[in-house]
């Protein structure tokens, strides 16, 4: 217990330090950081509830990864170098394994780290919003909402890879904006950031194989549009680097890992009754058999209100059912509001937001097609796009623009 308390205190201190560093010049940052600490503490409490009975409230992936990580820790301790480690399922288990090798096997500590990473994601989401010149209040609100979304507590506290995926996605977009927007960056810093983005794309591919195409495709759209708009050379260079890096990843990492990848949870264990080839075939069969429109509906809107009481982990738990239903209602509202945010992004012809939108659409489509048609699976896979969608969730700017255009007869198109 003492070890756990130490972990929690250290991570809380890091949360405060990172918060102050990221938002050093911003007003009201103390309140924002305090709320982030609260979100972290709630996550810590949730972890103890989650593991109280050795049970899994949120599915079983976390448990599998924990077991693989223990094996990796053993391999590392026995002197096998990191690059020769034998691991299953996902690269996330290697990260956990390293932690276990260094600090001892402790699933609580791995979950604490995940919680901390989730808070960092919230920070950098707000930082993106600030860099997009959203008002400070709105930017912080986006981060706070993200950190307090009830389902996020579940996805980001267990020893699952979700927390890391969300963080990588947000960081890639944050750093891309930084490279393009921050004119005071030296060439070395720009280069380092671009290389870091490529590394993160590679790591994301190791976590979820198709993220390579979502991320690099959307980044290319952003950079090409940005180049067309401003004729700056930097986005062109950035674009070429991303393209080369994506090709390399495609012909190395993706090809190598394709056979081991099976998004449909037909069988997630070695003891399954289908071998991988059969499963691989069954994935494609499932994709081909899917009704695209229904699949998109499922991905974006499940669990529907009527499904919620039947989610196994919260069945007969009235409070949890109410929370999930409320969250779903707010998600629907967020999506409706975002429609106008999307239109506003197009009116402004904002390359960055259009790139983010391309990521949301492509990720949504792929997941709609490959995810198992089960409410809680869609629910979890959709969580990746929650943060990017929140960047669009404002109808006011769009309507203000239209109102101004309709009331005044003058043409006020783009400014650049």
């Amino acid at each position: 217990m003492l070890e756990n308390i130490l972990w929690m205190l250290i991570l809380m201190a890091f949360t405060a330090i990172v918060g102050v560093l990221v938002f050093k010049d911003k007003p009201k940052k103390i309140r924002f950081i305090a709320l982030a600490e609260l979100a972290l503490i709630i996550r810590f409490i949730f972890i103890f509830v989650l593991y109280k009975n050795g049970t899994e409230y949120s599915g079983t992936d976390g448990l599998i990864y924990h077991q693989v990580a223990k094996d990796i820790a053993e391999q590392l301790k026995s002197g096998i170098p990191l690059w020769n480690i034998n691991y299953e399922y996902t690269w996330y288990t290697v990260l956990m394994g390293i932690q276990y090798a260094l600090f001892g096997v402790n699933r609580y500590a791995a979950s604490f780290i995940n919680s901390f990473i989730a808070i960092l994601s919230g920070y950098y989401l707000s930082a993106i919003a600030l860099d997009l010149n959203f008002k400070t209040k709105r930017s912080f609100l986006i981060g706070i909402i993200y950190m307090f979304i009830p389902s996020m507590f579940v996805w980001t506290t267990d020893t699952r890879k979700e927390s890391l995926i969300f963080f990588f996605v947000i960081m890639i977009w944050y750093m891309s904006l930084k490279v393009i927007k921050d004119r005071q960056l030296s060439m070395i810093k720009q280069g380092l950031l671009i290389v870091s983005i490529c590394v993160l794309i590679w790591l994301s591919t190791l976590l979820r194989i198709y993220l390579l195409y979502n991320l690099s495709g959307a980044l290319l759209i952003f950079l090409i549009l940005y180049y067309i708009k401003t004729k700056r050379k930097l986005p062109l260079v950035f674009c070429i680097v991303v393209m080369i890096c994506s090709l390399v990843i495609n012909f190395t990492t993706v090809r190598e890992n394709m056979r081991d990848y099976h998004a449909l949870s037909l069988d997630r264990s070695k003891s399954g009754d289908e071998d991988l080839d059969e499963e691989f075939g069954s994935i494609f069969k499932t994709i081909m058999e899917k009704d695209v429109a229904s699949a998109v509906n499922g991905f974006l809107t499940k669990p529907h209100f009527d499904d919620v009481p039947y989610i196994t982990d919260i069945a007969a738990n009235t409070l949890a059912i109410i929370i999930v239903k409320t969250e779903m209602m707010l998600w629907y509202l967020c999506m409706i509001v975002s429609v106008f945010g999307i239109m506003h992004a197009f009116i402004r012809w904002d390359p960055y937001l259009i790139g983010v939108l391309a990521f949301i659409v492509s990720y949504g489509l792929i997941n709609a097609l490959i995810s198992e048609n089960v409410a809680d699976t869609y629910y979890r896979y959709r969580a990746v796009i929650t943060a990017p969608v929140m960047l669009f969730a404002d109808y006011r700017l769009f309507f203000q623009k239209i109102k101004a255009l309709m009331i005044g007869s003058s043409y006020h198109g783009e400014k650049l």
Partner: protein
């Protein structure tokens, strides 16, 4: 107050809208738990403990790799899970229990965990359930379950919990007493369902058979038997209890069981609703498909109608190459691209130069190009139009004591925050002025305005409908409304570039561009005004052909033209960079 009310109404409407969507759009034929067979054997021990074995066959679990079984736990009861089996590849596998902080075993070879909650025990079994079907066998002990009174002993247990919300079929429950007794002294009761059988088979075994249950129903079995059958059980209360129980049962039996009727009614309604929903969903799909296609067509028709309206009543005037100086280079850039930007600004300065208000000075030294403008004295800017006047004033303000305005020095660098702000303000004011001036010259008629507004509203509506209907009703054709909505919106949004005034000028400007690109020094077909070097540079910059100056007849010397091209290129890069830095985000 009014605005608050409006907001409130908006929120309420949105909530109602979303809930109404969920009613008819989100229904599915089958969901949640479905138990296809449920067999329970309860052995009552003399000490009042229960040894229960439950075999649960699921037809739908809601998940592929775990199943949750809810076990009733009443006050004072202690439940101990003895063993859990699951069927993997046709073999019964004994599951291993996962305890707190211990996650050692291979989970999917069969494990389980136990969560003690207030009035139930949540047993979670991990395994591989193909197509969400599975069989789980649970053996567990319940302590302090049998209540022993002065005259009777009472067995009371919920086998299907009221809040479970699932469907169960073929439920068989067998309760075995520890020893034989007079059959007449055993009384069995069944609560929670309207249809079900109970039989006292012999002096020891009681059997229940319930064909099915629906959400809202539950299965509670209650058995009275002589207290001496469980003589090792601690006495709960020495008082006689038979009459109390019989009274309770009489009450239950005579009750209207409205909750159960309601549950059945709800289940029937649910089934009916599902069927109705499916029907409605099918109809909604057909309706949405037709609606989407018609709406998309109406969007396209609106564009055609607007286009007609734009051309209506306007005499086709001729705007030829010679007439180009009627527009300023800035306006030319706005006409061609819809924006002013670096080219508009630089072109505008050369426009002023062509009118004799300023004179450009190209400085070309090694690695040190400069572009300065000198103010020409005694010029009256009164006859200049708004944007030109503003640009002239800007040059005046920013020029030094000798009347020189150095453009490349004026453009702020990214670290010069204060200058950037000032530059942004100056640029924005000038940009608005240019656009207002253009709008004045290119005024829309009332009916054109009507069609523009209609297009804007229709475009937004179609786009939003495309997003919402396609997802809500799972209709592919509704996605058509997205591009159409966007097209209608964009067309209306940029309508001023589609008026006859704009179209003619854009066409001529493009012709000019083509002419410059294709021309050579011997070409004598160039318009006369192009002999004015300032106007020529201004328009070349505005239409993006400033790198062709060296080909334009005798206006420039080759050497001069090349160096001017270089300077213009540098100025445009700097201006572009600076403007994108201050205006993009």
């Amino acid at each position: 107050m009014i605005s608050k009310l409006k907001k409130m109404w908006l929120v309420i409407t949105a909530i109602i809208f979303m809930f109404s969507l969920s009613v008819f759009c989100f229904a599915e034929p089958q969901r949640g738990y479905r138990i296809s067979k449920y067999e329970v054997v309860v052995k009552v021990a003399k000490n009042g403990e229960l040894d229960i074995s439950e075999e649960v066959k699921y037809s739908s679990l809601g998940n592929s790799n775990n199943a949750v079984i809810l076990i009733d736990k009443q006050e004072d009861e202690e439940i101990e899970i003895k063993s859990v089996y699951t069927l993997i590849k046709g073999e019964l596998i004994e599951c291993e229990r996962l305890s707190a902080g211990q996650w050692d075993s291979n989970v999917f070879n069969g494990t389980y965990s136990v969560l003690q909650e207030n009035n139930l025990v949540r047993l979670k079994v991990y395994g591989i359930f193909k197509k969400q079907q599975g069989t789980v066998i649970v053996n567990y002990n319940v302590k302090n379950s049998i209540k022993r009174y002065g005259d009777i002993a009472l067995y009371s247990r919920n086998h299907i919990l009221e809040g479970w919300n699932g469907y169960a079929s073929d439920i068989d429950i067998e309760i075995q007493l520890p020893k034989y007794t007079d059959t007449a002294r055993i009384k069995a009761f069944l609560h929670g369902v309207l249809v079900g059988q109970k039989r006292v088979l012999d002096g020891r075994t009681i059997k229940y058979n319930i064909p099915n249950t629906v959400p809202g129903e539950y299965v509670e079995t209650r058995i009275l038997f002589p207290e001496n059958v469980v003589k090792d059980t601690p006495i709960t209360d020495p008082e006689n209890y038979l009459d109390t129980v019989l009274e309770e049962e009489k009450e239950y039996s005579e009750s209207d069981k409205s909750n159960l009727l309601k549950a059945r009614e709800n289940a029937a309604k649910e089934a009916g609703k599902r069927a109705w929903n499916e029907k409605i969903q099918q109809r909604a799909k057909v309706f949405s498909t037709i609606f989407s296609i018609l709406a998309s067509l109406s969007g396209l028709l609106t564009i055609i109608r607007t286009k007609k309206e734009l051309m209506k009543g306007q005499k086709k005037s001729t705007f030829e190459l010679e007439d180009i100086p009627q527009v300023t280079p800035t306006e030319a850039q706005l006409l061609l691209t819809g924006k002013t930007g670096a080219r508009g600004l630089l072109g505008g300065l050369f426009g002023l130069a062509s009118k004799g208000f300023i004179k450009p000075l190209f400085g070309s030294e090694k690695n040190n190009n400069s572009l300065r403008f000198r103010l020409i004295e005694n010029q009256n800017p009164e006859h200049l139009d708004g944007p030109e006047k503003e640009l002239y004033q800007l040059v005046q303000t920013e020029s030094d004591d000798l009347g020189y305005f150095d453009l490349l020095k004026y453009i702020p660098k990214s670290h010069e925050t204060a200058q950037m702000e000032k530059f942004k303000e100056n640029y924005s004011n000038w940009d608005n002025n240019v656009r207002n001036n253009f709008s004045e010259k290119n005024k829309l008629t009332t009916s054109q305005l009507y069609y523009r507004n209609l297009g804007l509203i229709l475009g937004v509506t179609l786009f939003a409908a495309g997003c919402i209907i396609s997802v809500t009703f799972s209709v592919l054709s509704a996605y058509l409304m997205l591009p159409v909505g966007f097209l209608v919106f964009w067309y209306s949004f940029s309508i001023q570039r589609k008026t006859l005034y704009s179209v003619e000028r854009i066409k001529t400007l493009k012709k000019l561009k083509e002419l410059i690109i294709k021309c050579n020094k011997k070409d004598k077909t160039l318009p006369v005004w192009m002999s004015d070097p300032m106007l020529l540079i201004g328009f070349s910059v505005a239409i993006g052909v400033e790198n062709r100056l060296h080909l334009l007849g005798d206006t420039f010397e080759d050497k001069d033209a090349k160096s001017i091209e270089e300077i213009l290129k540098k100025a445009l890069i700097l201006l572009n960079d600076s403007l994108s830095a201050i205006l993009e985000y």
